[in-house]
């Protein structure tokens, strides 16, 4: 399904391609016309791969955060982890790290995300179990602080080019993603996801609460910190190449739980695939469906995600 969606996405766009033509260019790039080959290999394929990586990353991190915070509303966007990554990334961009060191921006994004993750861990330690209200309020306050810091960074940027680059990136879009972005995101995301997928049993126990986890063989605080740091690494890498795309980590695990249940050995891998699929579809819609109007990938994701978020919030008993 993911492969089909990716392939269909490959044929759609400003320059529409016949499926045969696209397949030919994919398998035998040398024989295809230069335009087709360029459209496929330089524009659409890297963009689709970035969408897949970011989608898988955000959806899996969403499922992990929901287990740790024991709340189906937790996800990197809503808890402010993505906002933390954005502060880091904007700092990286406006300080000119993007030009000098390739890894500067993702590292700065990771540092920002990890800072927020540690704040969450501190809140968790003091409050034991977090109700929806607490999670949302923590997320709101962190996002507000992040927004202020981003404004500060942009106002003080050294030149206009850096400001434009930061603003463009902030929109949460996959426009103009290149192989460089694929290379940048692939390492941390794939390694991080591999780690998260190896902790499914610990996540099953954590989802039952601190006392159950602690008596089920989980070193609760160490496990939570490690999981949150790896989740920050993955979120940081995703945000560094795509900006802030919210709701993927909310919508996808929710749908997957309805389909295959909440056991993490199934929930995590299927959320990863589902997240990749969701973002490829969202991105395809974003770049094809609205004609001359420019719609960012993050807007499509929010259009789908915000109503589902509200639905989940209203269905929950007040906490």
């Amino acid at each position: 399904m993911l492969a089909t969606a990716a392939f269909v996405s490959l044929t759609l766009g400003v320059v529409p391609l016949a499926p045969g033509e696209a397949l030919g260019a994919l398998l035998h790039p040398a024989e295809a016309s230069r335009t087709t080959s360029a459209v496929i290999w330089s524009i659409r394929l890297p963009r689709i791969l970035v969408a897949m990586l970011v989608g898988a990353a955000l959806a899996t991190v969403g499922a992990v955060m929901q287990a740790i915070l024991r709340n189906p509303l937790a996800e990197p966007g809503i808890t402010g982890v993505s906002a933390g990554a954005a502060v880091g990334a904007v700092a990286g961009i406006t300080l000119g790290l993007a030009g000098s060191a390739q890894w500067g921006v993702p590292l700065a994004a990771f540092a920002g995300a990890a800072t927020v993750a540690l704040v969450l861990q501190t809140v968790l330690r003091s409050r034991k179990d977090l109700g929806s209200a607490t999670i949302i309020l923590v997320g709101v306050s962190i996002s507000a602080l992040a927004g202020a810091l981003i404004n500060l960074l942009i106002a003080n940027a050294r030149d206009d080019a850096l400001v434009r680059s930061a603003l463009f990136w902030l929109a949460g879009d996959l426009e103009l993603r290149s192989w460089e972005h694929v290379a940048l995101a692939a390492g941390p995301i794939l390694l991080g996801l591999a780690y998260l997928l190896s902790r499914t049993r610990q996540l099953d126990a954590l989802a039952l609460g601190e006392q159950v986890a602690a008596t089920s063989g989980v070193h609760v605080n160490r496990e939570r910190i490690l999981l949150l740091l790896v989740a920050s690494l993955v979120t940081g890498a995703a945000v560094a190449v795509s900006g802030v795309i919210s709701f993927v980590g909310l919508v996808v695990p929710h749908a997957v739980r309805l389909l295959v249940g909440a056991s993490h050995s199934r929930l995590l891998p299927i959320s990863a695939l589902g997240g990749a699929l969701f973002l490829v579809l969202a991105d395809t819609v974003a770049r094809t469906a609205f004609g001359p109007v420019i719609v960012q990938t993050g807007v499509v994701s929010a259009l789908v995600g915000a109503p589902i978020f509200l639905f989940l919030l209203l269905r929950k008993q007040p906490a």
Binding site: K128, L208, A214, G217, V218, S263
Partner: protein, 260 residues
């Protein structure tokens, strides 16, 4: 003989508390406890609200409650045993019964079986579910259960872990009369298996019938321990709860405690 070995896969040992107690909000709760619990002990922890029954249980299980003094199982200091190994010694029913709504009952119970390294967690889970009389719920979503069914599911998780020490924080708080009896029988059966059961209870009649030993905590921070009929005496109960009680016996030998 083989069957008995399979039902009792752990090493029975004594649980010893030396000057042990829990902290709550940075303050030591109650006076330090010195207790020796032999294999087969079913200890009922009773006392009015707020005396620290749950904190004591959480501290014993090393489940997020800080403790002072020492609690040893055999020669092992529970505070120093790594979490993985401790999951083979102590299991716990917490008061917090929540779980992801879409989790299947059988999968939740299997978390207990996994924790002690069971090779076939799902079969163990089904066995534990029939032990508490809810085998038919195995494939239900947790979110579809009633409060009592949630509690029984969590008790089944604890049983599936098959630990020599079993800690139950108010195991019957959500149960109907029939299932209270099931849990009471389960507690006694665990004791007969040579395990040590420690349960916080509000139902003093249940404590009288299900337990071999009672630990009564009162508001002054004092603790009384001993045989159920010795500790749940009207004067001690009155000192702890401020309520006059009498103990009666039914024609079939079951005791119950009535308030006056």
């Amino acid at each position: 003989m083989m069957a008995e070995t399979a039902a009792c896969p752990f090493l029975a040992a004594t649980l010893t508390l030396d000057g042990f107690g829990a902290y709550r909000a940075g303050r030591a709760l109650g006076s330090p406890l010195d207790l020796r619990l032999m294999p087969g002990t079913v200890l009922g922890v009773v006392g009015p609200n707020g005396v620290g029954k749950s904190s004591l249980l959480g501290a014993l299980a090393q489940a997020g409650v800080r403790s002072y003094g020492r609690a040893r199982f055999g020669a092992q200091d529970l505070a120093r045993v790594p979490a993985r190994a401790r999951a083979g010694i102590v299991s716990m029913l917490a008061q917090d019964l929540h779980a992801p709504e879409e989790l299947r009952v059988r999968e939740l119970v299997a978390v207990g079986a996994h924790a002690s390294g069971n090779q076939d967690p799902l079969s163990e889970a089904e066995r534990a579910l029939s032990d508490v009389g809810i085998a038919e719920l195995a494939h239900q979503r947790f979110g579809s259960l009633s409060g009592g069914q949630m509690q029984l599911t969590q008790i089944a998780r604890v049983l599936a872990q098959r630990t020599p020490v079993v800690i139950l924080d108010e195991p019957t708080s959500a149960l109907d009369l029939f299932h209270q009896r099931v849990v009471e029988q389960t507690m006694r059966r665990l004791g007969n298996d040579g395990r040590i059961v420690i349960a916080a209870l509000h139902d003093l009649s249940l404590a009288l019938n299900a337990c071999t030993q009672i630990l009564l905590l009162d508001r002054a921070g004092d603790a009384h321990s001993g045989k159920p009929a010795d500790v749940l005496r009207p004067d001690l109960v009155h000192a702890a709860y401020g309520v006059r009680t009498t103990i009666h016996t039914t024609p079939r030998g079951r005791r119950f405690l009535a308030t006056e």
